[in-house]
Symmetry: C7
């Protein structure tokens, strides 16, 4: 099997601002500092983005099993 | 048991545009760059397709446990 | 324990048209080409069957954890 | 610990008509041919029983993780 | 760690009538014959108890992952 | 990593009355007799607490995967 | 792979007041005393924060699988 290890792509996101979509439909942004194989992610300057507001969360640990997708903030 | 390793079919999709259906009912398209045995998938030029709009996501990592199905974009 | 390996029954379905019921209540048909012990299934000529329409999906990989049941198309 | 292996009770159901209740609230009947430790079950002459109709499914493989309970058809 | 093996308490319930609450909110009673470490349970003379009726199920195998709690019938 | 084994805190609750919140939103109280690493818990004198009533459950085994939190009864 | 062990970030939170968001949408605050690799967390002086009230919970053990995110109380 051709296994390119998609999680390695997260290395490109280090110290960059990323967007994370969660299963509870909320969206989180922040600067990615660390991740592990379960997709647990440590963010700095994290914010929860809602349609009409932002909530500052600061240093944040997200549980990987709640994550749908990760992309670089556009 | 006759085990043909269905995940290997994803090798045929490499560098091709694929459609991914997620458990939260959203549909994602993008060019498949990498996958692993948990079905985590790295896409480039990813877009979320809604009934009346497309949202550009760029480089995207999708968590395999959220995926229902993968097929080549028709 | 008497363990007859029910998954082996899928060998009988190879290259035959099967129906798959998914947890999201949609029904998929297609010609079964491969499966694994997690019930991941590779179909050719796959279609999503709705009450009033069919959507052609072509080559399709279905994630096993989304599958409720598999039977030969009637 | 006193472990009587409850799954072994399924041996008594072999070649008998059983009722299976699924998490999606549907009820399936059929003649039990095989099961494994994950409670995957292979049925012959399977039918989905609804309040006002029966749908013939023939040879059926049910994914164990979808099963709530199994009992002999009354 | 102080690990008293709570599942062993089920030994006290053997051949006694127990009540089982399931995740789908239904309640099952029956005489407990066997269980395993996944909390799969084999009951005899099982009944599903609803607010205004009882459904006889006879010999029943319950999947442990569906169980919320087990107590002796009051 | 600094791992203080939070489950060990349950040792302090032994033979004390605790409150357990379950995923199905019900609240259970009882005297904690035993637990294991999956958070399965054996209670004596258990009661289900509702907004306007209490249901006596006696000796109760709770499946750990259903538990949200455990605290000493206030 | 670049694996910085995001869970280690929790060491910084020890003996500090943290906010925990749970899958059942409730928010818990408390002083973090211990955690493990499953994200089970032991809090002291825990409180459940609702839009218009706080419920004191005292010493609390939270099951890791229910946790969405952890951040320092703002």
């Amino acid at each position: 099997m051709n296994d390119f290890r998609p999680l390695n792509k997260l290395d490109n996101f280090q110290n960059k601002k990323i967007e994370i979509l969660l299963k509870n439909t909320s969206k989180i942004t922040g600067v990615m500092k660390a991740y592990d194989l379960n997709l647990n992610i440590h963010l700095e300057d994290a914010e929860e983005i809602n349609s009409d507001s932002k909530i500052k969360l600061g240093t944040l640990l997200l549980r990987g099993s709640m994550i749908i997708s990760v992309n670089e903030a556009q």
